[in-house]
């Protein structure tokens, strides 16, 4: 792969992360425990989806500049390959709706199901904490488009982190049932947090280029923040070191399949449909 392809991979991963967590949170719409929190989660979901759109637009621009030969085998999806063969440029919607599971680069944590409020909070809290440090670094990167996205996202993410941190404390230091559910969710999702800090080839090359973020360096900051909130919440920080990974390479849990089935159905069944 050349540098252009690595930048595309990097941009797509950030876009996929945003789309998948945005979709997961949007599943709460109309099902929130109280009206106010339903609106809060929907707002947050829209923050993520907004970021996904900007990043997909940027990724599409990059893709359309690739030589025809590279475009053809960039994704496994036949729907995308057909579009490329017909000589059409791809847009943000094609990248979101027409790629297959293997083409998605999102981290496994983000595709995990909502299950209950505690799981939803734990998943968001792990990701929000990561984002808080990640976007601070990305805001100073050499790629102007990514830096601009980071700058805007940082304000949103700062609020997301405040919201999810408070909920961790509220549940953890709440009733015995809420404490037990919070601790359980944290324990169950812990194995998905290792992938946040895995530097794969794309990360290494983007870091060398001055575009990517040194995510290994974020890990201690993340750990410190998470432990501090857990302490206040009377939640035990899990000590397990075995970690799941693979999302960044396109190897996903079965959960992504269900998400894509729901998310992509309309565009797959009625290509180009608009309303």
């Amino acid at each position: 792969m050349n540098k252009q392809r690595y930048l595309l991979d990097y941009t797509l991963r950030l876009a996929d992360d945003a789309l998948i967590i945005g979709h997961r949170l949007s599943e709460w719409c109309g099902h929130g425990p109280v009206l106010e929190q339903d609106i809060a989660l929907t707002n947050t979901s829209l923050d993520h989806l907004g970021r996904a759109r900007t990043l997909y637009q940027y990724a599409a621009e990059q893709f359309n500049r690739l030589p025809q030969g590279e475009k053809k085998n960039a994704f496994t999806s036949v729907a995308i390959q057909n579009l490329v063969a017909s000589g059409e440029n791809l847009g943000e919607d094609d990248l979101a709706y027409l790629r297959d599971g293997w083409d998605f680069r999102n981290m496994l944590l983000l595709e995990q199901p909502n299950i209950d409020w505690a799981y939803t909070i734990a998943r968001s809290f792990f990701y929000d904490t990561f984002n808080y440090f990640f976007f601070q670094h990305l805001a100073g990167c050499k790629d102007e488009s990514l830096a601009a996205v980071a700058e805007k996202s940082l304000k949103e993410v700062t609020y997301h982190l405040r919201w999810s941190s408070e909920w961790v404390v509220r549940l953890g230091d709440g009733t015995s049932e809420s404490h037990q559910r919070m601790q359980h969710a944290v324990n169950e999702l812990w194995a998905y947090t290792g992938e946040l800090f895995v530097m794969n080839d794309t990360d290494k090359i983007m870091l060398q280029e001055g575009t990517g973020v040194d995510i290994e360096a974020i890990k201690p900051l993340w750990m410190q923040r998470v432990s501090a909130v857990f302490e206040e919440a009377t939640i035990n920080t899990p000590t397990g070191t075995w970690m799941q990974q693979g999302g960044k390479e396109g190897r996903h849990t079965e959960q992504l399949g269900y998400i894509l089935a729901e998310l992509q159905f309309m565009q797959r069944a009625y290509p180009g449909m608009a309303w």
Binding site: V34, E36, Q37, I39, N43, R162, E166, R170, G174
Partner: protein, 102 residues
């Protein structure tokens, strides 16, 4: 916190009144009310419910139970006596034309 909830209603969070300042320099105006478990959540809920369309730059919340209101049944004795005290209005001054918005 748990005790507080039990005292009011077992299944419902307390009600809060929300006041929003729409611009710096203007006063906080009552925007509505919402449910929240504590003051921080009330401010965040207010942010999400009442300032999604850039309606505000500052939020006050107060638990509804701390608002003391006048009795509508007493409105005659409270407000009607002001009706015929026109000397309390500054309507006896001639305003110069230059003062446009008074």
């Amino acid at each position: 916190m748990t005790q507080e909830i039990n005292k009011t209603n077992k299944s419902e969070w307390p009600l809060w009144e929300v006041f929003i300042r729409s611009k710096v320099g203007l006063d906080h105006k009552h925007a509505g009310s919402l449910h929240a478990a504590d003051a921080e959540m009330a401010i965040e809920n207010a942010r999400d419910v009442y300032t999604r369309r850039m309606e505000g730059v500052s939020i006050w919340v107060v638990e509804s139970k701390f608002i003391h209101a006048s009795d509508p049944g007493e409105s005659e004795s409270l407000y009607d006596p002001a009706n015929d005290k026109i000397y309390r209005h500054p309507t006896f001054y001639n305003l110069p034309d230059e003062v446009k918005y008074m």
